[in-house]
């Protein structure tokens, strides 16, 4: 008996959604079966029908859509931009912007200090004698053009480019004595790198 009552209560719980027509076929059949035999269920159904009619019958008061939409447009701003992207996309956009900014900064920094050179690359230098070799050196701080000439210890050595802020300098040395001069330069611990470079 208890089970039957429990079942009836469970089916009566479905009456509101039987009234609005959203039950599935099985539930609808169960409600119909109950309504065929249960006076209380029929009474409740009448109540629900009246309730539904009253709510559907209510006129909508909605107004001011235009001004509300205008307000929302102002909140949304001129363009969607990054602000309305999902988080993952937003982070990707931020990372991409950072990379572009960093690249641009590096590029312009490079432009300010002159073209990038390696120790063995030929730089744009003043003309040198045909019998001279080019020697590129990487010197420690404090070693200037005069010091290089002193270390080279050869009157025909010329400093084509004095040590840059990064310590790179270029010398023109007589071809006949190039190896001896390089050896002398290499002997000084303040010179970190000495190499003959192609002309």
């Amino acid at each position: 008996m208890m089970n039957i009552l429990d079942t009836r209560d469970a089916v009566r719980e479905l009456l509101p959604w039987h009234e609005n027509g959203t039950l599935n076929d099985i539930e609808r059949e169960r409600v119909r079966a109950l309504l065929a035999t249960d006076l209380e269920a029929n009474r409740q159904r009448r109540e629900l029908h009246a309730l539904r009619e009253a709510l559907v019958d209510e006129s909508t008061l909605a107004s001011d859509m235009g001004s509300n939409l205008q307000r929302l447009r102002a909140q949304m701003g001129p363009s969607r931009a990054i602000a309305y992207m999902p988080m993952t996309t937003r982070w990707l956009a931020i990372a991409a912007s950072a990379i572009v900014t960093l690249g641009a900064a590096t590029f312009y920094a490079g432009t300010r200090v002159g073209p990038y050179q390696t120790l063995t690359a030929t730089a744009a230098l003043e003309p040198v004698a045909a019998d001279a070799d080019l020697v590129r050196v990487d010197v420690a701080a404090g070693v200037d053009a005069a010091a290089l000439l002193q270390l080279a210890a050869d009157p025909q050595v010329r400093v084509l480019s004095a040590p840059s802020e990064h310590g790179v300098a270029t010398l023109a040395v007589p071809h006949a004595r190039a190896q001896q001069i390089i050896a002398r330069l290499n002997a000084d611990p303040r010179l970190r790198f000495v190499a003959q470079v192609p002309r």
Binding site: E13, P16, W17, E19, N20, G21, T22, L23, R43, Q44, R46, E47, L48, A50, L51, R52, E53, A54, L55, V56, D57, E58, T60, L61, A62, D64, M65, N68, L69, R71, L72, Q75, M76, R80, A83, Y84, P86
Partner: protein, 196 residues
Amino acid sequence: MQSPNDRFRPNGAPDGAEAADDAACLAAVVRGDREAFERLYRRYYERLFRFSLRVTGRIHLVGDVINETMMVVWRRASEYRAAAQVSTWIFGIAYRKSLKALARDGRHNTESIDDVPEIELQMPETVDREAMHAAIRRAVACLPPDHRAVVDLTFHFNRSYEEIAQILGCPVGTVKSRMFHARAKLRPLLGHLLGD
């Protein structure tokens, strides 16, 4: 087969074509399409107005609730999952925004259905249909907000109990329980009106 109650469906859940267009609009919103967004806004404005007004019971909150709801749609369209209809997702947002607006507003609606004098809930022996409907709507307005939401989603918006559970973010059993208690509170009036 159509239900005999289908004549009540104008405010109800969207049909297949409208649901598909909602989904298409939302996909366009994900791509930043303002035109599609405003189409959704116009389509849902009246429904959200009604729903928010029913949940909050305060007309001065409704405009903000609608705009806050649609701002979430604009910003988080990509988070929509097709497990529920677009309309169910939007109503769910509107429900939460309505409750938040109500909490922010602070002044609690002190009138509950239990506080309405018996005399006001009683109607003359013979009442016209409009007076009866007005009395019922007044009684519904005195229910707690979560009960009002269940009643309105069921009877005005024709939502199934599963959809209502999704909108309210609660189990189906809670939806049925809220409906049970709402009906229990309305029963004296409805019984009287129907002459039971």
